[in-house]
Amino acid sequence: MKFPIKLPTVFILVGMFIISLYLLIEVDYYSYSVTLTSSNDTPYVVIPSIGVNESINNKSIDYGVYYEPLSGLPGEGTVILFGHRTLHGSPFLNLNQLKSGDDVFLEWPGVGNVEYTVSNSTIVDASYQIPLYQGNTLFLITCYPISSDTQRLIIGSKYDNTTPLTNPTSKPNSQSSDAFLIIASLFGGGMLLGTFYPVKEDKILIFMATIALTILLIYAYFFPVPTDGVESLLTNINNFLSL
């Protein structure tokens, strides 16, 4: 019995599908960031030494920097902020480069411009429970090492002072165009692959898969849905394969 699709074609189609799942997460993030940053009450975290200037939300870490709602307000208690180091805009990509003495600012409507100074960094297991009452401090938390979900890097910062928020320097995220670049890259790469694919009878499958996956990403951009399920699937497969 002859298999209807060539083995290398199966490999390519499966590979394209997996890659598109990763791209879906990123496109989804940019779509959400457009929606969330439209509010005037959005707080921002600014870390000049590593070039972070990101909006903060209290809905989901999938939308960028996430404020733990059970934690305190800046200047009044322990503030806990989570951020992805990979995907979802990677807001805390370079968090490990922070050094003791670096400045961190929280521009918080209703509170002011709150300044913190980095005091220490700690690495703990992913199951670590973070204490909520640590005085007037700020914790920035991301994954460690990069692209792993086994540990967490916690940057502790001490409160310095609060000044009036008269002239916010932060601007809303304007990275939505990145989503179109991602979609265009998938489409262009897929069409190129289909054009030069040596198995002529399977070229049509490459083209069809490219178009289908492109439509999926475009749909995800205009009608974003939480990608928690996709992330769990990818993480579980990674863990299963010990990658």
Binding site: D125, A126, P131, L132, L243
Partner: protein, 323 residues
Amino acid sequence: MNFSKNLIIIVFLLAIISAFTFADALNTVSADNSSGGNSVGTPGTTGSQTWIAYNTSNVQMTQLTANITVIIKNIGSHVEYFKISQIYSGTTPPMNFTVVSHPGAVMMIDPVNPEGDWGWEIQPGETKTVSFKVDASGVMGNDPGWIGNPNAVSNTSWPLIPDMGLYTSWFMPDEIQTLNPDLQLKSWIGIFTFTATNLATYPVAGIIRGPIIPTASKLTYSNPLVTFQDTSIAPETNVAAWNIHLTKAGSSNDHESFIYTYQWPLSGNGSNIGKGTSSVFAPNNSTNNTTTVPSQNTGIPYGLLALAAVMVTAGVVYAKFLR
């Protein structure tokens, strides 16, 4: 040179290397001994290691408690008992623990300690959850507990507490499986508390390590947040360590209370274990019901993405050149 000559040279070199290794091990043991038994104020120096010795200690440890929850299965064909003792002896100076809570336990016959031993009956095939709490008392506990004991003996056996800040006492939660192969440890959770108080007339600062740490376990909670985890104390051991500053005795900030939680085993996906039962790992000692929050999933592994890229590349290469 034939094969036999090569073999002789290799054996000779191995013998030399082994001799040096053994000599180095002897030096290490000597250094261990010198740290505990040397005279006050004289740093023990042996081989390449130097140990710190205290003249006296200015920080007192009190209120050392351990709240242990063990899930254990009897895989044998007959009834077994999971036993705990009220006093651990044989150490100098002895560190006494009083069992203050032991729900479901019965007093054992022929106790190894005069105060008696507590035990939990586990039927064949039964998996039982056992909880008990012990408070330290005596020399190293409330009566009073000095962190730095000038006569402390370097010892790695539970539950002696050597000089705090310099060293940590560690133990193996799964040692029970060695002692009694019929009792299989499923999980082990320990919540430890202690208070460090400055008794000096001047401020002090330094690293304080958790006094008792299980091996092959992960730190799942601490308050205050640990400054770092020391992995150099013992193999597979992540010792909670804090950088603390205490004001002079009698002032409001002359003491600090610590609480930390460890969970055995070290491996496995902690986020799965912790779901829905975070209160087990993080005790609520505040009027507020929630004192901790779990960590968000902040990373997605890239391994699968790399594999996907390899699959696409391999597919193209195979179709082009190998098919």
